[in-house]
């Protein structure tokens, strides 16, 4: 536990990717099994616990120490896990500190009511860093700024293998990964990844740079198809196991039993999950109704039936076809999809084109129907094998230009982590007519925290500090009226009706595309502009 705590502590304050890799690799090298495996699982978000509720932890410490002193401490530190870790009054004669694996085993075996008792005894046995790590672990969410991908990269470094080797095996492995470590350290065979229904690492595309990429590319080398605006999925049906995964390998079959039931084939396909009604695709807003649900609602399944538009074929029957060129996989995919009964799975049609200009015209003005719901186009080299990760060159995404509006900065919030001292989360608004005679007022329409450079962030931060009207904790309201106000050009991908927002609409993927220091706030856009955009499209959503 000590080594794990030390690792989390360092990771939480380390920004450099290489330094993080070194920290994790050294930890994996120097920590014995099974602790390192459990730690890796925790870092990759693959450990699920009977989570301890923050309120229960708070109650535990308040039984131990004066409530006023605790309240002042919490006030000062601002993070419950950290406050408890630091202020915990230990009892003399505590046990030795637990190993990470003891914690994992005990929590797995414990009844829910026993969890607080276990945690209390461990808090007594650990030092402050250990307590912090334990509390982060049991309250879920380590949030130390390490992606699962980076963790697996460290694992690859440890064994001197490529990260795609790890990715290929990863989803067939279960913690604490003893056989995986044995292989990486040359003590054992390469573990068999052959678990029916497992996830295969997904191939991703680079965003195309129109100026530099196109001159180098030959249109004859590439196939084009729509980039559908749903979520990328991998549908697996293998020896009786039917599973639906997101592109990061999270299983979502439970929320989509209608789709899982329709996987009437033996193999693995890559495609876009969409709401599909009688063969016509719905908007992203439609699909969103069905996302992030733990169970499927029968009524919702009837009103928002989901299906898959297939892009690619990974496994046909028991034959792995990923090494074949896209041209051959595509031919097999067409035959494969044609053989699937039912209407929930169809084929994403290729878009023939002679040159880039012709394709560009298609991108800008797609024909009506389904294509109006595409985010843009995908370009795939005819000769590309299906590779894990995001290789540069074989696949490109060519998105449609985003919508742009000019909005006015209204509130700013301090960021987190590296940005904790800087106002970096910006809420912006547009003008709305108030009751007759009152004139116009700004109404917030969204929030963005990226799209600007570090230099621009400094200027934005300075603007916020100089024009603060009020402070509410980490949030400042900024002067924004017709005279003084900062105009932000905001790019976004879509609009949707929303009852949760005062303006009645919500933006999809908003980011700051330019800071308009030159533009007076009174010339920023009006809510009516957004309303018109929304009205132009059916169903209360706008998508790009």
């Amino acid at each position: 536990m000590r080594a794990f705590a030390h690792l989390l502590d360092r990771l939480s304050l380390t920004a450099s990717r290489n330094a993080k890799l070194t920290l994790v690799r050294d930890f994996l090298r120097n920590t014995p099994d099974p602790d390192r495996g459990w730690a890796l699982a925790a870092l990759c978000g693959e450990l699920t616990f009977k989570a301890a509720k923050p309120a229960a932890i708070r109650a535990t410490i308040e039984a131990r120490m004066d409530a006023t002193l605790f309240a002042w401490s919490y006030d000062y530190v601002g993070d419950l896990a950290e406050t408890v870790a630091l202020a915990w009054p230990g009892r003399p004669g505590a046990n030795r500190p637990p190993d990470l694996s003891e914690v994992v085993d005990a929590l797995a075996a414990a009844k829910r009511a026993e969890v607080p008792v276990l945690i209390e005894a461990w808090l007594d046995a650990l030092d402050a860093d250990g307590r912090w790590a334990l509390l982060k672990l049991v309250t879920g969410g380590l949030r130390v700024g390490l992606s699962a991908r980076l963790a697996r990269q460290s694992l690859a470094d440890l064994g001197g293998v490529s990260v795609s080797d790890i990715e290929e095996l990863w989803h067939g492995m279960t913690p604490p990964y003893g056989d995986l470590f044995a292989w990486l350290e040359g003590r054992g065979e390469r573990p068999a990844a052959d678990r029916p229904g497992r996830f295969r690492p997904v191939m991703l595309a680079q965003a195309i740079d129109e100026l530099t990429d196109f001159p180098k590319l030959n249109p004859a080398d590439y196939a084009a198809e729509w980039k559908w605006d749903g979520i990328r999925v991998q549908a697996v049906s293998e020896r009786g196991q039917r599973r639906l995964y997101t592109r990061t390998g999270d299983e979502i079959s439970v929320a989509f039993p209608d789709v899982a039931a329709a996987l009437e084939f033996e193999g693995v396909i890559d495609g876009e999950l969409l709401v599909m009604r009688n063969g016509a695709v719905g908007s992203f807003g439609d699909l969103q109704q069905r996302l992030n649900r733990k169970t499927a609602d029968a009524k919702l399944m009837a009103s928002h039936p989901a299906g898959i538009r297939a892009y690619d074929l990974l496994l046909a029957g028991a034959i792995d076809v990923r090494h074949l060129p896209f041209r051959q996989r595509r031919a097999r995919l067409e035959a494969f999809v044609a053989g699937i009964s039912g209407e929930r799975i169809d084929l994403s049609p290729l878009q023939p084109f002679a040159d880039w200009d012709q394709l560009g015209a298609l991108r800008i003005s797609p024909p009506g129907g389904d294509a109006s719901h595409a985010e843009g186009l995908m370009l795939k080299r005819w000769d590309s094998p299906y590779l894990a990760g995001r290789p540069k060159g074989p696949w490109f995404k060519w998105k449609r230009d985003p919508h742009l509006i000019d909005a006015v900065l209204m509130y700013a919030q301090r960021g987190h982590g590296k940005r904790s001292g800087v106002y970096s989360d910006f809420t912006f608004g547009v003008w709305r007519d108030e009751a007759a005679g009152v004139g116009r007022a700004l109404t917030p329409v969204g929030k963005a925290y990226f799209g600007f450079t570090d230099e621009e962030l400094k200027l934005l931060d300075a603007f916020v500090r100089e024009n603060t009207i009020e402070k509410f904790g980490p949030v400042r309201s900024v002067r924004a009226d017709g005279e003084v106000g900062l105009v932000l050009e905001v790019a976004f991908e879509g609009l949707q009706r929303s009852s949760r927002h005062k303006s009645g609409l919500a933006m999809r993927f908003p980011r700051i595309s330019r800071i308009r220091w030159d533009k007076p706030a009174r010339d920023a856009d009006e809510l009516a502009t957004l309303e018109r955009l929304l009205a132009q499209s059916a169903g209360g959503t706008v998508n790009r």
Binding site: H6, D66, F70
Partner: protein
């Protein structure tokens, strides 16, 4: 018995002893001052007469020049000096070289003004000496239960482990020039780090002063002024203000470290962009503050600066009478 306020009471310039006509650590120039230790917020220039340890006077002279006061009188620990019938003596406070508690006795009443203090071992100064008293005047810089400094040897071990893990990077440790710099050097030497330690020019004066007083610091070097991405694998000491500045960019992919009690709280480290926080403090932590009060059990506790409300609250839970003195001007952040 007489009221302790008759002997000492706060005034705008600082804690004032009326029967002896002197101030303790006054924050503005006065005629007569007794100084607990050399940190700038406690030891200011321009007093008429100063009474302090020989070390503290030397530190003041090195900071402000020889004429930092009209008259300077040195007092050894335990030696008594009289001021108009008031007995004044100094006892070690364990904070930095020469730091002292001021013991004031008058008509059977004893007040101890601890100044800044700590209870744990420090290779560069004498340990705190508990003195029985009627009133104990304490600091409360780390007067919250979240401030529990871990073992300093453990913190140095973390630093050395990081140096081992990142041999191609320079570890630049922010340290205050008086006390912290020399203590960190001393702790590094105890941990077996016997290589030359490059130090920022701003630390050289006090390092030399410590060496004159017999504190062994080993081989110190100057930071190479022309270095580009140099000093890889070394530990460099610099004032905290030099961390993450262009000055520090000359080093090889520097790991920014900072040795301070404030580093106990992660948000503080993050705020300063510190990659390797080292919780090493010259102030008493919560356990030392409360442990000292429990040990002395003075009739009254007066709290000068820091988080006085939490410590006063703790005292009330223990049945100790406590009050916060309204003394302004002491630095509550610098450490």
């Amino acid at each position: 018995m007489i009221r302790p306020e008759a002997l000492l009471h706060p005034r705008p310039a600082g804690l004032y002893c009326a029967p002896g006509d002197f101030y303790i650590d006054p924050v503005r120039p006065v005629d007569r001052a007794v100084i607990t230790h050399g940190h700038a917020d406690h030891a200011r220039a321009g007093h008429g007469a100063v009474l302090a340890t020989r070390e503290t006077l030397a530190i003041m002279a090195s900071r402000y020049g020889k004429n930092f006061a009209g008259n300077a009188e040195a007092l050894r620990y335990g030696e008594v000096s009289r001021r108009d019938g008031v007995e004044v003596s100094l006892a070690p406070a364990g904070h930095v070289l020469g730091s002292a508690q001021v013991v004031v006795r008058w008509k059977g009443l004893t007040i101890v003004v601890s100044g800044d203090y700590k209870r744990r071992r420090d290779p560069t100064c004498q340990p705190f000496e508990p003195i029985a008293c009627d009133v104990f005047v304490t600091e409360a810089t780390f007067g919250l239960p979240v401030f529990r400094h871990p073992s300093d040897a453990g913190e140095i071990e973390r630093l050395l482990k990081s140096v081992g893990q990142f041999p191609d990077r320079t570890h630049v440790v922010g340290v205050y020039s008086l006390g912290k710099a020399q203590r960190v050097i001393g702790l590094l030497r105890e941990a077996g780090w016997d290589r030359a330690i490059p130090v920022h020019g701003a630390l050289e004066g006090l390092n030399a002063l410590y060496a004159e007083f017999g504190v062994e610091l080993g081989n110190l070097a100057r930071v190479d002024p022309n270095s580009r991405f140099g000093h890889a694998g070394e530990i460099v000491l610099a004032p905290p203000s030099a961390i993450s500045t262009p000055w520090a960019k000359r080093f090889a992919d520097p790991v920014d470290a900072f040795a301070s009690g404030w580093m106990r709280v992660r948000a503080r480290a993050r705020q300063r962009g510190v990659e390797l926080p080292l919780v090493i403090s010259d102030h008493a932590d919560w356990d030392e503050l409360t442990g000292t009060l429990a040990e002395l059990r003075p009739g009254e506790v007066w709290i000068t600066h820091g988080r006085e409300e939490a410590l006063a609250h703790w005292c009330s839970l223990q049945g100790l009478s406590a009050r916060a003195l309204e003394v302004v001007g002491y630095d509550e952040e610098g450490e």
